[in-house]
């Protein structure tokens, strides 16, 4: 597996940073080299937040890159900002809700995900991110679902552990959404690497 450079971006409250952390932690547990680099500082004031996650079989040189294999975005400004920075042949996942001008590039794999809508349907807005995660892993089997769940446990405070099953459900839903999307389905089962 080659190294994967991912950006996760959205508004402050949307949990993009922990999305990236869960991904990185899961990968670390599977023996990969990982780095997680958040955007920080006053641009966060009422602005967007993002983090760069790099997953690699070998030592990572710089945690900060400007071109990405994969972008997971949760709002319009982030879409506009990172859409052009995706490498040719790369992957773009985005939350459909609140996107006015959708992406246009032909040379990348684009997957809109109605995560918020689905989450509300499932009755817990919070699991939207896991739906997104499920969709991502369907397209890019970077880590196993099990690893993600362990990571999730780690990141959730005890009192929220009862929500793990619901999140598991979210991951599954996400995967399904990815599968029935117009693009050719990719590997369905998590890599064992």
């Amino acid at each position: 597996m080659k190294s994967e450079e991912i950006v996760v971006a959205g508004f402050g409250g949307q949990g993009v940073l922990s999305f990236g952390q869960i991904l990185a932690y899961a990968a670390m547990m599977e023996g990969k080299e990982v780095s997680w680099m958040p955007s920080y500082g006053p641009e966060m004031r009422g602005g967007t937040a993002n983090c760069i996650v790099i997953i690699s079989p070998t030592r990572i040189s710089s945690p900060i890159v400007t071109q990405f294999d994969t972008a997971v975005v949760f709002n319009q400004p982030s879409l506009d900002k990172f859409h052009p920075r995706i490498k040719k042949g790369g992957l773009l996942l985005y939350e459909q809700d609140g996107i006015i001008n959708p992406p246009y590039r032909e040379d990348i794999d684009i997957l809109p995900v109605p995560a918020v809508r689905e989450a509300i349907r499932l009755g817990k807005k919070q699991i939207g991110n896991m739906i997104m995660m499920g969709a991502l892993l369907a397209r890019r089997p970077l880590v196993s679902l099990d690893a993600v769940l362990v990571a999730l446990k780690k990141s959730l405070p005890e009192r929220h552990h009862h929500m793990i099953p619901l999140n598991e459900e979210g991951l599954r839903v996400g995967r399904q959404l990815a599968e029935k999307s117009r693009h050719e389905p990719s590997v369905l089962f998590p890599t064992e690497s």
Binding site: P42, E43, R45, G46, G47
Partner: protein, 266 residues
């Protein structure tokens, strides 16, 4: 961009002050900074002193104030805004000069500059935004943080035994002979906003009359730092901040020479 002065038969009664630039502000939703910026620019509009006023921005969330205020401005090092304002005023005594500072900037790292600027009676206005927290750096304890209040550097709440009590710098400043006008205001309700604006207006007029330092504390909210919605924040502020920082005038000029030329509100 000027709004139409009439809108299907109705006439314009309130508009965004012209001295406030069109740049959208970067503050968090509901943050008091925006309101205070607005009031300052309204007063400058009404007194027609845009060309005579120089502002000093602090290091804090309002570090970008100069992006929003369409006047000449300087950005000062953390805590030194009042020293920078002193330097400006001493060189341009006929200009209106104000500094705009947060509680960390004014009451922690800038304590010495604050005390001595006021003690010298520098003929400037100091606007002090007290939100009881370090907003810009992510919600650390400020000198004004309330006892027991949880911040990122007081995870178990501010322990007055080891971290001291909230510093009421405004009360200290009011005792200095150089202070001409010291008041504590808020901007969470229309009435409060009206009062706060009046205070700012007076401060500029006192400066015109060379009365000494005006010091206006605005007890403010910091929804992000407090981890509350703006409405929750305002409520919490009334319940917890106001008792510790009671609103009102702490010192008013003995002999004020108010200025005749006062424009009508638009």
């Amino acid at each position: 961009m000027n709004p139409p002065i009439a809108y299907n038969g109705l006439e314009l009664v309130y508009r965004r002050p012209v001295t406030l630039t069109d740049t959208p502000m970067h503050y968090c939703p509901g943050c008091s900074h925006g309101v205070v910026h607005k009031l300052l620019m309204e007063v400058i509009d009404e007194m027609g002193i845009q060309s005579e006023t120089i502002g000093v921005a602090p290091v804090g969330c309002s570090v970008f104030a100069y992006n929003y205020m369409n006047i000449d401005m300087q950005e000062a090092a953390h805590g030194r805004a009042s020293a920078v304002a002193t330097g400006i005023k001493r060189m341009l005594p006929h200009r209106y000069v104000f500094s705009y500072q947060g509680d960390g900037d004014l009451a922690a790292i800038g304590t010495a500059e604050t005390i001595h600027t006021v003690n010298r009676g520098e003929n400037i206005l100091i606007v002090f935004i007290n939100n009881a927290i370090y907003g810009m750096t992510g919600g650390q304890m400020a000198p004004t943080t309330l006892p027991g209040m949880v911040t990122s550097t007081t995870p178990y709440g501010r322990d007055v035994a080891t971290m001291g009590h909230p510093l009421k710098i405004t009360e200290l400043v009011a005792r200095l002979p150089g202070a001409a006008f010291v008041t504590r205001q808020a901007v969470h309700t229309p009435t409060a906003v009206r009062k706060a604006k009046k205070a700012i207006r007076s401060a500029f007029e006192y400066q015109r009359s060379r009365l000494g330092t005006s010091f206006i504390e605005i007890v403010s909210n910091c929804p992000s730092g407090w981890k509350m919605t703006p409405l929750e924040g305002n409520e919490w502020m009334e319940k917890n901040m106001f008792p510790a920082y009671p609103l009102g005038d702490l010192k008013i000029p003995s002999a004020t020479k108010p200025d005749a030329k006062v424009k009508e509100e638009v």
